[in-house]
């Protein structure tokens, strides 16, 4: 293997890794006994610089049009993969900004190092065609997430949530690996292009392969928090530090859906394989939409509410996967990016409010938020309405495209695919109920405490982060063409 090429391909990841070491090193060497606030500031700044460098590198790679395929699909650099790397590193940016504001324990720099490591995992995950690298990268990502969920050692519930997350996640990973082994057994290959070629083979052991894919779906279903593999999500989302939650809900989901698309798409072109797989996907999608939306209605804690909403969103996203063609996948990727941006923003707002109030945010205690910080209230309005799918925000365009992609493939009036999107449309209409309840709590209600709550002052970096996220949400809704065109053209050839 050509090492120069390899460095060229994974330079952004190397930068992130170096940053992780630098952040820890500086912290340990110079600031070991200093105030935690100062340590946090230094470490977060180092991390942000590292992210900027990595993002810049990715953009330069994209600009130079680098396309590489190293080690038989172990590291694959294409414009699509690069774009997703950029999205993931871009999503890590607000995560770090939010983390900087949160109260931290004594392991300040490790927190940022963990975040960076999980970003590295996510970046490797999107830039590979090799099943083993997929597994390893996914494990790197997940292990960091388990650890970070339980980061506050003396917060019992977080430890519990972390353990739950870890156990369920470990089992899911085992399923995934087992599924991969079946696929390897059937096709004698571990790189996706060869696998997809062999899946069209007429004398394929169909039952064997289907079993393999079922195992994969179990594993991925867990990563995506799709019902019935969602039980970890509300706990982990609620108990993890909010910045970590925002990353679990966005970054890891983006990476998971990209990889799901890559894994499932080849199988769906083979009819005998696609029927059972689609059946299971439909079931997961329907259950996710129903359970997620109904579950969210009962929640009082804002993070738990968004956790259920993200379960429901997995259901919507699966609709695009069910469409089973390049267009459907492009719809999934389009929507997952939009979803990630809006969700990141929403969790960010919660993180800010939490630090200001010094406690968990529920529907009852965030009243009067519009008075203490109108900017956050407006941003929250934009993010939540985008999640609810209200135009002209991106969430609407994305959902429309997802549903459209499915019915376009089966345009007969009120067959199964119409029934599925009818369910999706109506559940998302009912979802507006709890989204509006959330907005009501923050924007409508006048709080008796609002006079006591400290006015929340955001620094310039935080303000611009929120502004950028809100702008992206509006812009992608009003002018979605460039991104859509990019995704479709990259996926079709």
């Amino acid at each position: 293997m050509d090492y120069i090429q390899l460095v060229k391909a994974v330079l952004p990841e190397l930068m992130l890794l170096a940053t992780a070491f630098i952040a820890i090193g500086i912290d340990y060497k110079f600031f070991r006994n200093q105030d935690e606030k100062l340590r946090s500031r230094v470490a977060s700044n180092v991390t942000l610089y590292g992210l900027v460098c990595a993002l810049g590198t990715v953009l330069i790679q994209y600009h130079l049009g680098i396309e590489l395929n190293l080690g038989n699909g172990q590291v694959v650099i294409t414009p699509l993969n690069l774009m997703f790397k950029a999205v993931l590193i871009g999503l890590m940016f607000p995560t770090v900004v939010f983390a900087a504001r949160e109260a931290s324990c004594e392991h300040v720099s490790e927190h940022y190092a963990m975040l960076l490591l999980s970003a590295i995992g996510a970046c490797f995950l999107v830039a590979t065609d090799n099943l083993l690298i997929v597994f390893v990268a996914l494990e790197l990502l997940s292990l960091c997430l388990y650890t970070m969920t339980a980061f506050y050692k003396n917060y019992k519930e977080a430890t519990e949530a972390g353990i739950k997350y870890f156990l369920a996640g470990g089992v899911a990973s085992a399923f995934l690996l087992f599924g991969f082994s079946y696929i390897y057994g059937a096709t004698n290959a571990i790189d996706l292009p060869t696998i997809s070629q062999r899946l069209t083979d007429p004398d394929l052991p169909v039952l064997f392969v289907v079993t393999g894919f079922m195992f994969i779906l179990v594993g991925m279903g867990f990563k995506m928090a799709a019902v019935p593999f969602h039980l970890w999500a509300p706990d982990a989302y609620t108990c993890a530090p909010t910045s970590v939650t925002s990353w679990i809900a966005t970054g890891s989901k983006v990476a998971s859906f990209l990889i799901l698309g890559k894994l499932i798409l080849p199988a769906l072109s083979n009819r005998s394989l696609s029927e059972p797989i689609i059946g299971v996907l439909v079931l997961m999608s329907v259950l996710s939409m129903i359970v997620g939306n109904i579950g969210a209605i009962r929640q009082k804690n804002l993070k738990a509410l968004l956790a259920y909403s993200s379960i429901a969103h997995s259901g919507y996203l699966l609709i695009g996967v069910i469409a089973g063609d390049a267009k459907g996948t492009s719809a999934v990727l389009f929507y997952v990016i939009i979803y990630a941006i809006a969700n990141m923003g929403a969790f960010g707002v919660i993180a800010m409010l939490e630090t200001a109030l010094g406690r968990r945010i529920t529907l009852d205690n965030c009243a009067g938020c519009w008075r203490t910080s109108p900017l956050l209230a407006v941003c929250l309005l934009i993010f939540i309405l985008s999640l609810a799918g209200i135009p002209p925000l991106a969430g609407f365009t994305g959902k429309f495209y997802l549903f459209f992609a499915l019915v376009e493939n089966n345009p007969i009036w009120f067959n199964l695919s119409y029934a599925l999107i009818a369910l999706a449309i109506f559940t998302s209409a009912f979802a507006l109920y709890y989204y509006l309840r959330l907005l009501k709590a923050c924007i409508v209600k006048e709080s008796p405490e609002s006079t006591r709550a400290l006015p929340l002052s955001l620094n310039l970096l935080e303000q611009s982060t929120f502004a950028a996220l809100a702008f992206a949400t509006v812009f992608l809704g009003v002018y979605p063409m460039p991104l859509m065109r990019f995704l479709i053209s990259r996926l079709t050839n």
């Binding site: 309405l385 429309f400 119409y418 009912f430 507006l432 859509m484």
Partner: protein
């Protein structure tokens, strides 16, 4: 490009008002009035630029918007129908600002949401692309929630949530219909092309018509999905109930006309009888319930349901006369409904602080000017000659006689409805102004405050509008007829 003006002005106004600090009340009010007036002037400019000799859409702006994934253009334009309704929107927008002149709680946010709603409404009426129309339609839904939930009165949180859920479920129905229309024909979302040659088959049209008609009809207060309307109207602040009754309900009716009748003429033909009966029943039912209400705003709320029944009935006749009447009734009810809500929710409520008719004790002697205004508005609402309601209802009833798809018995039902309308209007005028209150523990002052300038202006504008249309209906009927021509043409082809 002039077609963009009202929309752009409203959205810019919305943003500007929203960022003005809420302490600067005067700036906000003047800015709002300027925005509303500028929007109205832009609409007038469209009206006078409209060439009445040509059918079809004018001032068309068409730009590529979304390609590859699905095809939706940024496609705007107007014909006589849209023009009538944007004119209505312009008038109501100005009057709504006047009616909410005294709002001092979060004024910037109020007008921010207010103009977002207005912008969405303009957008719906001016869109020539179904996707764009739907986008604007949904933009108009959410601000209503906040307008009612923050500034509303009785049961505002329940009412606002009910209203939004009804609207959004309605649009979910409509969205399914839109998918089917797009995939069933090969003209994308292009409304003019879909109207002239949709290429949708008989089966498909009859099957998706209910989706479209219920979807939009929910917002038009269609029976039996009308329950949001009275609750929402009564809970809303004055300006919002004026907008709701005045224009938002028309969004639904407009959708039924443009998409339901225009694009799915066969479906319309198939379902017309059913809609006719439902609407005629709504007329009678609304009037009966209005008769029994004690809350003054609920009376007006149910009268809205009854009047919107006329609109849908007019649509269901599928005849030229009936459709002209329906469109005219949309305008007429927009003006009269807004006037009634302004008087009841604004003028009277701000003075008495109650809407319970049982406590109103000889109000005529205490507020003679307002009583006279209400009597005039009541006459307009009853559909007396001189007022726009008369012309509109006359058209609808004539259309009903001529209609080939409707039963003659409907006319009888409508007749009963009209009698009941007279009954509840006169009885409520009596209860409100001329009788001794059955429960008179309220101690009203001898005479209430006289009318303020903004109240005079707003009532003046609305009364003049209904009189102008009542006396010179051709101001609107001419443009409505040209606007309806393509729709009538396809409907005629279908009925043969």
């Amino acid at each position: 490009m002039e077609v963009l003006l009202p929309i752009v002005i409203s959205f810019i106004g919305s943003a500007l008002v929203a960022v003005t600090p809420s302490e600067k009340l005067k700036t906000i009010r003047i800015l709002s009035l300027t925005t509303a007036t500028a929007g109205f002037l832009a609409v007038l400019y469209l009206y006078f630029g409209y060439d009445n000799t040509k059918a079809g859409f004018q001032g068309v702006v068409k730009m590529d918007w979304i390609k590859n994934a699905f095809n939706a253009d940024f496609h705007l334009g107007y014909d006589g129908i849209s023009l009538t309704l944007v004119l209505l929107t312009g008038i109501i927008a100005v009057c709504g600002v006047l009616a909410s002149w005294n709002i001092s709680h979060r004024t910037n946010a109020f007008f921010g949401f207010y103009f977002a709603l207005i912008g969405g409404v303009y957008g719906v009426f001016l869109s020539l692309d179904l996707f764009l129309l739907f986008v604007f339609y949904e933009i108009a839904i959410v601000p209503k929630y906040f307008l009612i939930a923050i500034w509303g009165s009785t049961r505002r949180e329940y009412a606002s949530m009910q209203l939004v859920i009804y609207s959004i479920v309605g649009s979910a129905f409509a969205l399914l219909g839109l998918f089917a229309i797009y995939l069933g024909s090969n003209h994308g979302f292009n409304i003019p092309e879909l109207i002239t040659k949709s290429g949708l088959g008989y089966e498909l049209q009859t099957q998706i018509f209910p989706f479209i008609f219920i979807g939009f009809g929910i917002l038009a207060g269609m029976f039996p999905f009308h329950t949001w309307a009275p609750t929402g109207h009564s809970a809303a602040p004055t300006a919002a109930s004026m907008l709701l009754a005045g224009v938002v309900m028309k969004l639904g009716a407009y959708g039924c006309l443009r998409v339901g009748l225009g694009i799915l003429p066969v479906g319309a033909h198939y379902w017309a009888g059913c809609i006719g009966w439902l609407s005629a029943f709504a007329i009678v039912y609304g009037a009966l319930i209005a008769l029994s209400q004690k809350d003054f705003k609920y009376v007006i709320g149910y009268s809205s349901v009854s009047h919107m029944g006329f609109v849908l009935l007019g649509l269901s006749t599928l005849s030229q006369m009936g459709l002209v009447g329906a469109t005219l009734q949309m305008f007429s009810h927009g003006i009269i409904g807004a006037l009634l809500f302004a008087i009841v929710g604004g003028l009277i409520y701000e003075r008495t602080h109650t809407r319970n008719l049982d406590t109103f004790n000889h109000l005529f002697s205490r507020m003679p000017a307002i009583a006279w205004l209400f009597i005039i508005a009541g006459c307009a609402s009853m559909g007396l000659p001189l007022f726009s309601g008369f012309i509109a209802e006359l058209h609808i009833i004539l259309g009903l006689w001529q209609s080939t798809v409707q039963s003659v018995w409907l006319v009888v039902l409508v007749g009963i409805g009209i009698v009941l309308t007279f009954a509840y209007t006169l009885i409520k005028i009596h209860e409100a102004f001329f009788r001794k209150a059955p429960v008179s523990d309220e101690h009203f002052p001898k005479s209430f405050e006289p009318l303020a300038w903004n109240e005079k202006a707003l009532c003046g504008i609305l009364i003049i509008c209904t009189l102008v249309i009542g006396l010179f209906p051709f101001v609107l009927t001419d443009i409505i007829e040209t606007g309806l021509r393509p729709i009538i043409k396809t409907l005629e082809i279908v009925s043969r």
